[in-house]
Subunit: 343 residues, 2 copies
């Protein structure tokens, strides 16, 4: 049984520590004897919150004091240099020392990535970490990698992303031999950019058994269950993720506007209200609310800054899953297999 | 008064020539005395279709015979070399010779771009054409440029895209001094890639009066009316456009599924049916269904392969608008202004 000690950056995120403690409280329900939650942050703030939830004496909970907070809009690199005693840096220290097997933070993404890379370091053979994000589709999900960690990658970074994304899909989505696609402007080999053609060439030549590479995929296919892993650079991934979120919000707002434009439509909306709840569950599932920096020696997961208790509990569930499946060892094994071939 | 002679590639697209003729027939309603429609394609196919719509003797209609068709899935470059007598190439010839002021095709995008570049050529000072696509948002629209013509551009190409996109937004959306944003991973200056930082530097240094550059924009802002023109490379633009379409279709299908899951929801959906029609009108407007290859010496517009008569009529309306506003002269004037500064 893998030991599951999770560090929670209790001060990051838009909703503040009380919502994060609520999330931990929810996640505690399914926890095993050996689980430990390191709640990292200002003790004076956290103690009353934990007392309120009757968690102060809980055997699973251990508060780790940190006097500073990295704010959401701080310059990532400056913040990690100046705020050594921030909740995020202290939580990363726990992962670095091995006391915690995984870390969850809703805080400043740039600081978490830079701090994670500096403190936890990358796995042997992996040059740069990448964000793996699970994108909900109609009745299924896929992994988008890189969702924004590395905007200016080399071709070999994308090859590593493909391997890490495949291991991640296997661990969290439970898919055996996930289908991996390379995001391009068309499905034909010659499409896209010089960069994409180079990556495609390398992916085709990976040793058997590393990943199930299905070739280039285009935007039209992203929500049609063609592949389980979509590989792209962090520039495209960041834009894609944010644009999709923006588009989804816009459609929701138009739908709401139209649905409430007349009394009869309002009545219709009321009768069909279950449909909107069903839609939200399908398209905004709480179960996939954490996104790991893949390629690090430890499990560092980012949850959305605006995560509420349910999304925080969901991210904790994801961290448990990647630990249970020992995803890091699997990534390392496959990266080695791929790198040896290239020697 | 600008003469408005439009060439229509009547053989391209998924729905075939009869739907295209229907679209022309719709567009004829608002046309002026001096308008001419060159209907380009196989005369034997087109004559009975035109007769059926009583358009055979119409003073605005002129059939131009072409014996071949470039299929949607043909290799673009091979197709334009082999099929000199295709409807698309013959239509481009009309633009090249000046007989037609604009061309609309629902056919093979790659062939239209390659053929357009070779036959019609780029404006002086413009190196590569870019596709300008109008993206509907909630109660407004923005221009995405480049939506896929040039996946591997140089920084100066994106500067030209910014200028062309601005002129296009002014001509078709009627916006004075459109706000122009550069698509990146954040709104701060240092974000994104080396390439993006170079483009940003050049855009900031454009002479006054060329464009109203508002700096980098991120994905979250694309459907929030921050800017009127979003500048990106053709790789990102193509992926963004296709992914947005795929996401929109997926959301529609989930909504439909959820709305019809129970009899009571079905009743609700029936009562609120006007809302879905309103949504479609807002988010899939027929008025912006053509996308020009900006930077060419002529107006070459691509309509979606699956365009029906209403979308074809919409694309014809757009072509008329860019002619009325004399967009090409405006692009040329501003590109010259920008290029002289750089000398």
């Amino acid at each position: 049984m893998v030991k599951r000690s999770l560090a929670i950056d209790a001060m990051g995120g838009d909703k503040g520590p009380s919502e994060i403690i609520e999330g931990v409280s929810l996640a505690l329900k399914g926890c095993l004897k050996e689980d430990t939650f390191f709640i990292v942050g200002n003790e004076q703030v956290l103690t009353p919150l934990l007392r309120e939830k009757s968690l102060l004496q809980n055997e699973h909970i251990q508060v780790v004091h940190a006097s500073e907070i990295i704010e959401m809009d701080e310059n990532p690199l400056k913040a990690i240099k100046r705020k050594k005693d921030s909740s995020m840096m202290r939580a990363l220290d726990l992962v670095k020392s091995g006391a915690a097997n995984a870390l969850i933070s809703c805080g400043n993404t740039g600081s978490l990535m830079a701090g994670g890379t500096i403190k936890v370091r990358t796995l042997p053979g992996v040059e740069r970490p990448a964000i793996g994000s699970i994108i909900p589709s109609n009745g299924c999900q896929y992994v988008l990698i890189d969702a924004g960690a590395n905007p200016d990658p080399k071709p070999e970074h994308l090859v590593q992303n493909a391997i890490m994304g495949s291991c991640y899909a296997e661990a969290t989505l439970g898919i055996q031999n996930p289908r991996v696609g390379l995001l391009s402007t068309g499905t034909e080999e010659g499409k896209g950019t010089d960069f994409i053609r180079m990556v495609h060439g390398s992916l085709k030549n990976l040793p058997l058994g590393v990943i199930d590479y299905r070739g280039p995929v285009e935007g039209f296919q992203l929500f049609e269950n063609h592949v389980d892993v979509v590989v792209c650079d962090g520039f495209v991934g960041n834009i894609l993720l944010k644009t999709s979120e923006s588009l989804f919000e816009m459609i929701k707002s138009v739908l709401k506007e139209e649905m409430t434009a007349t009394p009869i439509r309002k009545l219709g909306a009321f009768l069909a209200r279950g449909a909107f709840i069903g839609m939200k569950k399908k398209l905004n599932p709480v179960a996939f609310s954490g996104a790991p920096f893949l390629g690090l020696k430890g499990n560092v997961l980012k949850a959305h800054g605006s995560s509420d208790r349910f999304y925080i509990a969901g991210a904790i569930g994801m961290a448990r899953e990647v630990l249970k499946k020992d995803m890091l060892s699997e990534i390392q094994r496959k990266v080695e297999l791929a790198n040896n071939k290239n020697l």
